[in-house]
Amino acid sequence: MEPFLWLLFSAGGVLSALLIPALLFLFGLAFPLGWVSPPDHAHLSAVLSHPVTRVALLGLCVLALFHWAHRFRYALYDGLQLKHLERAITLFCYGGALTGSAVAGYFLLAVP
């Protein structure tokens, strides 16, 4: 199991490093602070309705969540020395990633 979880972690690490800085900078800082004027609703809606965008965003969400799950699990093991709670931590991290992926799938694919 570990090799596959590590592959998901790594893929998520690459995608997050490449894409999240720009996205978070725009929507978290630049638009709210008025440095750049935000795109209008019609444009964003058009971009989001394209299947390629949705699949790409779904991939980003799923892999980023598994990236979190893997790193956070080891951070709890080592940083807080909680290795004896291995079961609960594994369940929380990967369960969280699975649930989050399902929610992401619902939002991105089910909503028009």
Binding site: G12, G13, V14, S16, A17, L18, L19, I20, P21, A22, L23, L24, F25, L26, F27, G28, L29, F31, P32, L33, V36, P38, P39, H41, H43, L44, S45, V47, L48, T53, L57, L60, C61, A64, L65, H67, W68, H70, R71, F72, Y74, A75, G79, L80, Q81, G96, G100, V103, A104, F107, L108, V111, P112
Partner: protein, 136 residues
């Protein structure tokens, strides 16, 4: 294995690892901060899904999302998140993956610095593409 001290058996001294061992060295602290960046990666997914949902609900909800993201609390959270995300991106692209990846060009292994430079180009292209799609 418990060994009593005799002339021929050592009695080892073995200190316990303190809970906050990562405060003792700068490099360890940086490591723990790097690992904590994953929490903000997860936060970004939540933020992104809220945005997607708001856009899907219509112009009214989208406007409300923009107003909400401009509240001081959200701004502060996202500034902190961006710092951690940048720490993740910089360490991942320029220190971790250049050492972990073996890329060959004409049978020769590329030095880590070249892989880092390639990652920088990929990062710029991906950011430009994202900005282009969003800003139109």
């Amino acid at each position: 294995m418990k060994v009593e001290y005799t002339q021929f058996h050592p009695r080892w001294y073995r200190p316990r690892v303190p809970v906050f061992w990562w405060l003792r060295r700068r490099s360890y602290l940086l490591f723990v901060l790097r690992e904590l960046s994953s929490v903000f990666v997860a936060w970004f997914v939540v933020f992104l899904l809220l945005l997607v949902n708001a856009v899907a609900q219509g112009p009214e909800d989208y406007r409300r999302f923009l107003d909400w993201s401009a509240t001081p609390g959200m701004l502060l959270l996202n500034v902190v998140a961006l710092c951690f995300i940048l720490l993740h991106a910089v360490t991942w692209l320029f220190t971790l993956s250049p050492h972990a990846m073996v890329v060959r060009l004409r049978g020769r292994r590329l030095p880590p610095a070249v892989i880092g430079a390639g990652n920088l180009v990929a990062w710029m292209l991906a950011s430009a593409l994202a900005a282009f799609l969003i800003l139109g």
